[in-house]
Amino acid sequence: MDQTISFKQVTHTYQANTPFSQDALDLVSLTIPAHSFTAIIGHTGSGKSTLVQHINALLKPTSGEIDVYGRTIIPTTTNKNLKELRKHVGMVFQFPEKQLFEESVIKDIMFGPKNYGASEADAEKDAEDAMQLVGLDESLRDKSPFDLSGGQMRRVAIAGVLAMKPEILILDEPTAGLDPRGHKEIMDLAQELHDHRGLTIILVTHQMDDVVDYASDVIVMDRGKIVKHGKPSDIFSDPKWVYQMHLDLPSSAEFATRLVKAGIHLKQTPLTIEKLADEIAELIKWEAHT
């Protein structure tokens, strides 16, 4: 079976009289290989959320075709055929803690697996595994999710998605509102899932530092179209273009452009602090030798 996510000429038009009508897709074609870590970036309203919601068919295309690991979604696909697909595509929405509703942590996490037909015992086992994976202490198991801290609630929500054992995980700004420690923990979890559990990760984000630190591929969207798809180094090599897209550079690249403005010329645009330090060190040492 074809292990990719592919969009073929996908268009999505919202009802013309809603204020969101610009947030649509316009003949999008792309391929995301399995086991990749792909970041989707673009300014607000560029169509990122619309794009990812097609991957688990929360939205259906107005025209075109989407293929997710061999399962096809076309405009006429009926809801009946979607459940099987959604089981394989986990979706973590922005502020996912807002979706919690059960009386205990474990029950909330078991909700997904049970909906997809797992027995009580299997669902519980999967939920316990998911708790461990996101680093929730076992003692929280029977507590009400509403008695937890904000950071813990978010883990419960993410565990609720992971318990369904998805092959593809979509994360829509998973670190919004978290402090630096919480941010790092969630991003490290995404990396762990990608590196050691073989999940395909699709990350929607505004944080360019996360893009260069974690993603292998980047999709840039603008006005419902894909304007670039490549490695982080391809995307950020042209600062002017990045700014034109109303996007930011990663901190290191941004700092590098300021160095250039100050007359210090680097060989290439560094994307991480380590690369930047290398370049500066080389420059200083080279100067020192002459």
Partner: protein, 198 residues
Amino acid sequence: MPVKKKTLRLNMLAMFIAIILLQTSIPLIGYIPIGPLEITIIPMTVVVATVLLGTVDGAIIGGVWGFTTFVRAFVWPTSPLAAIVFVNPLISVIPRIMIGVVAGVAYTYLRKHLKSQAASISISAVLGSLTNTILVLGLIYLFYKAKAPQLYQINIKELLPYLLGVVGTNGVPEAIFSGIVTPLIAIPVKKIFDRTNH
């Protein structure tokens, strides 16, 4: 009442009004269609409001739903029943207010006499829902017996069994439904409410 409590009450009521408005305009969270009939889940919202905010505020939220039903019967009726019956403000508003009153009185009493919070909420919800059904039925009967002027004159003598039948067959599953689901919703929501309301 301290300012803080007063402001919070104002905003709680505002949020419940917003939810009622949403539920009356979005079927998915307001009505569950079963065959030709539909069960409304809005009485449950009124009961949740009553459990959180007390009898008076529950009655206010019920009244808001009633008023919305009334206005809607003119502007955008959901069924012929609504167009014929709910254009009478007494039929559209009073039963809805009484949901809050009955559920509130019942809940206050049951909380003192029953150990289980879930059971108290469940029984109050059933009573609240039945109050709505019985009052709507009773008032329809009363008004049409008394030959009050109507907006759409229909020979009600023939139609009355039909009207009573529709309201009745809606009312019973509605009450059962309220009894099962309301505690599942009210208990976690009350937890959040009590935490913010210290």
